[in-house]
């Protein structure tokens, strides 16, 4: 049976196939509820919403492939957004450097994470959680405890809401570029090979002469930078930065990566799966809210669906 399938289908990870099948299933279920779920406008809108999560999940995937986790996403997102907006307050020069500055702040958070995990050997779960708290504290001190009034620059708004190619939102293009970059890094560069190698067996990678600590460090820095970029785009979308804007992205980012078939203990996973996971999570959230389910019910169903899907994957992994 599997023999007769075309080779590109056979090469696909089962988890990726399941994730895409679930996307189709969700759309069919949605269309039973309302035919507008299949309209191009709705789908494009969902793709746009998914792009913010997609950028953040890209960084998360890199870290999870190493067998680590990044729990500093919420405040890396907020810090990126708030620092970019803050830079905009310093005249034209500030506005011009707003986006790179925001990303740089995210990279700095990632570097701290990487130092702790790679060099001080602190478990990433603790280290990144601590960094998250520190970043939160720093931002609260900076804003004096209020939501910042700084608004996003024109460039940020253009990236988040404009469309350079008619009909395609810029943010989708950004996700596509980030994603293409990650695919290239993971499949074609020695850095990518090292990431998979370390995720599979760090000791073997180290004994192969790989500078494992530097790789881990870089991966966390990239993840921090991508979180901050996600935050900057979100700030552009909402026209301003807010303190808790990153909170809603931690669980979805992890869930998207894992639902896409990336092993939570590292070493295995493809970016195609992460794309599927991101779209799946976004659709799920959207459909639950369109159905006007009360917030509490939405959270319960959302959490349950993630658990059930992970159970399904656990089953397939055991069969190998």
């Amino acid at each position: 049976m599997t023999e007769r399938m075309p080779s590109f289908v056979r090469r696909l990870d089962r988890a990726v196939v399941i994730a895409f099948a679930c996307i189709v299933l969700l759309l069919i279920l949605g269309s039973l509820y309302s035919s507008s779920f299949l309209s191009p406008e709705y789908l494009l809108q969902q793709l746009k919403v998914a792009s913010f999560l997609g950028v953040i999940a890209t960084g998360m995937m890199l870290v999870i492939l190493l067998g680590q986790i990044d729990l500093s996403v919420p405040w890396a997102v907020s810090t990126g957004a708030m620092m970019a907006c803050a830079a905009a307050a310093y005249g034209d020069v500030g506005a011009a450097f707003a986006i790179p500055f925001g990303i740089l702040c995210g990279v700095a958070i990632g570097v701290v994470n990487g130092l702790g995990v790679a060099y001080l050997r602190i478990p990433s779960m603790i280290m990144t959680l601590a960094t998250n708290a520190v970043a939160q504290g720093a931002m609260v001190v900076y804003t004096g405890g209020f939501s910042p009034q700084d608004s996003a620059t024109g460039a940020m708004r253009f990236l988040a809401t404009g469309s350079i190619i008619p009909g395609i939102p810029n943010v989708v293009i950004i996700w596509a570029l980030v994603g293409a970059g990650m695919v290239f890094v993971l499949t074609r560069t020695s850095f990518g090979r090292c990431v998979y190698g370390i995720g599979n067996r760090e000791r073997a990678a180290y004994l192969s002469g790989i500078n494992t600590r530097r790789i881990v460090m870089i991966a966390f820095a990239v993840a921090g930078g991508l979180s901050a970029l996600g935050g900057i785009l979100l700030a552009g979308y909402a026209s301003k930065a807010a303190q808790s804007m990153g909170d809603a992205y931690l669980l979805p980012a992890i869930a998207a990566v894992v639902l896409g078939g990336t092993s939570i203990i590292g070493g295995r996973g493809s970016y195609l799966g992460t794309i599927a996971g991101v779209i799946l999570i976004t659709l799920l959230q959207s459909i639950l809210s369109v159905m006007q389910m009360p917030e509490a019910g939405r959270q319960i169903i959302y959490g349950l669906v993630i658990i059930v899907m992970l159970l399904l994957y656990g089953r397939t992994a055991a069969e190998r």
């Binding site: 090979r193 990678a205 180290y206 004994l207 192969s208 002469g209 500078n211």
Partner: protein, 512 residues
């Protein structure tokens, strides 16, 4: 009368691990009130035998009789219940718990369902006193004790289980001379208390002092049993060797004198595991590391490769002193070192990754231009390696874990040959692989040496060292005890110096 003394009998015991035969029709009889010594070289089957006796593994075939009744031990706990208790070579204590907790770890005395600390402490004190280690406080944490005291706790722990049969596997290897004397007194007392003791040691003088009976193992079977003192050390070594050579080794070239060494190691020490090791390695030379298993050979290879911290001594490459602090530095152009690690499944390969990814993993820096892998260059080199080592894999994109053990080992070697290293360190590369692949590896090593590589080769198989090496360093207790060159490399010489016979032993005792 003679018959009733037989406390424990094993007959026709066989055990295989995968394709490797560990025991074949082995038998052993233990009598109450006697100390029985088990002798044999690395891999003769001693460890497997005591693992079967203590319920750690179950035999494929054979019977065990206790007091004439057939018994089976599905778990170590079942063996303990029957009165078979083992003191293992590797310490089995939990460092964060107290001595008393450790001694009673499997069956603490309870009161109302809670551990009765007072009773536990009392039992622990008694057990320690029986061991002759009453200087150890029962409430001290194990992690605060030095290694020799821990070993005493280990013995006390075994005695607290009230054994009828006590197995000691290299139990004295970590002890000081004073402790060894105490332990011997305890063992002799236990003998008088009609216990049966099975004693495994590589120290021939200990066996001479202690044992009543001896059994020699070779290739998974018992070859001889005799009352202690009836055979000379020479005879015992003959019995331990006496095996057939069936592997073909490539012929050795004439030694090339006056060549400058590629690698020169001077006074290398590491903690209390390696002591003052000096040797040199020339291009075109295969130098073997011999000795019994676990005498520091692995640590030496890891130290050279920059894995261990705080290594003292000087390492010269091409006459220049170098500091190698990581495998990254060790494999660098100036040094060009490669290490084929001990365990291919956890140290050599990433099993779920493809053959291709594994092969190029150690050479990524040479295959990539500014970080991007040159696919064409990678393919060319991989093709060459697949041919050079005749690796049998369906295609390059299957997980390396699906290959046979021998082919996996070839991949580990090939991934380092991708870098064309000048110094190759090998850590027991032929363990657990088939004879055919072994021979291919011997041929390959010689060819690499002929092409100018310097090779340091640790093997637990003496026949390999004899067949392959131009020079063998025999390690004992972390130091080079003897250097054998050319025709001096015989099984007899290897084993005698591995057992540190006879003068060196006495010197060591005086020193400690």
């Amino acid at each position: 009368m003679q018959q009733s003394d037989d406390l424990f009998r094993m007959e026709g015991i066989s055990k295989r691990y995968g394709g490797v035969r560990a025991l074949e029709q082995a038998s052993l009889t233990l009598k109450a009130g006697r100390i029985h010594a088990l002798l044999g070289e690395n891999g003769a089957g001693k460890s497997t035998l005591i693992k079967i006796m203590s319920g750690v593994v179950s035999p494929d075939q054979g019977t065990m009789l206790m007091d004439g009744q057939p018994v089976t031990f599905p778990s170590p706990a079942a063996a303990n219940d029957a009165g078979v208790v083992c003191v293992f070579q590797e310490l089995s204590l939990i460092p964060e718990l107290s001595v008393a907790d450790n001694i009673m770890v499997s069956r603490p005395p309870t009161r109302f369902g809670m551990i009765d600390r007072r009773a536990q402490r009392q039992i622990a004190e008694e057990a320690l006193a029986r061991t002759g280690a009453s200087d150890i406080h029962p409430l001290a944490l194990v992690k605060d004790l030095p290694l020799s005291r821990r070993q005493m706790v280990e013995i006390a722990k075994a005695l607290a289980r009230k054994p009828r049969i006590l197995i000691l596997d290299e139990a004295t290897s970590a002890l000081t001379a004073g402790d060894v004397r105490k332990v011997f007194e305890v063992l002799k007392r236990l003998r008088n208390e009609r216990l049966a003791l099975l004693y495994i040691s590589h120290r021939m003088n200990e066996i001479a002092e202690l044992a009543d009976d001896c059994t020699v193992f070779r290739n998974g079977s018992n070859v001889a049993s005799y009352p202690a003192g009836t055979k000379s050390d020479e005879d015992v070594i003959e019995m331990m060797i006496g095996r057939e050579y069936h592997s073909a080794y490539p012929s050795k070239p004439e030694p090339v004198p006056d060549k400058k060494p590629v690698l020169d190691v001077q006074n290398l020490s590491w903690g209390d595991r390696l002591h003052d090791i000096s040797f040199s390695l020339k291009a075109g030379e295969i130098v073997g590391l011999g000795g019994l298993d676990g005498q520091g050979q692995r640590d030496l290879l890891l130290a050279l490769f920059g894995v261990l911290r705080d290594v003292k001594g000087t390492v010269l490459v091409d006459g220049e002193p170098v500091r190698i602090e990581s495998p990254t530095q060790a494999r660098d152009h100036g040094i060009g070192m490669a290490l084929i690690p001990e365990d291919r499944k956890t140290e050599g390969l990433m099993l779920p990754m493809t053959v291709r990814e594994n092969l190029s993993f150690a050479a990524l820096d040479q295959l990539a231009k500014s970080g991007v892998i040159d696919g064409k260059k990678e393919q060319t080199l991989i093709d060459r390696m697949m041919k050079l080592l005749s690796i049998k894999a369906g295609n390059l994109d299957v997980p390396v874990g699906t290959l046979s053990g021998g082919n996996q080992q070839k991949v580990v070697i090939a991934k380092w040959l991708m870098r064309s290293p000048r110094i190759v360190l090998l850590n027991d590369p032929t363990r657990g692989i088939d004879v055919g692949t072994k021979q291919e590896i011997y041929q390959l090593l010689r060819r690499l040496a002929d092409e100018g590589a310097a090779i340091l080769f640790y093997s637990t198989d003496y026949a390999e060292l004899i067949g392959c090496c131009d020079k063998v360093l025999v390690l004992y207790d972390g130091a080079v005890k003897r250097q054998l060159v050319g025709s001096e490399i015989t099984e007899h010489a290897l084993l005698a110096s591995a057992l540190n016979l006879p003068e060196a032993e006495r010197v060591q005792e005086l020193a400690s």
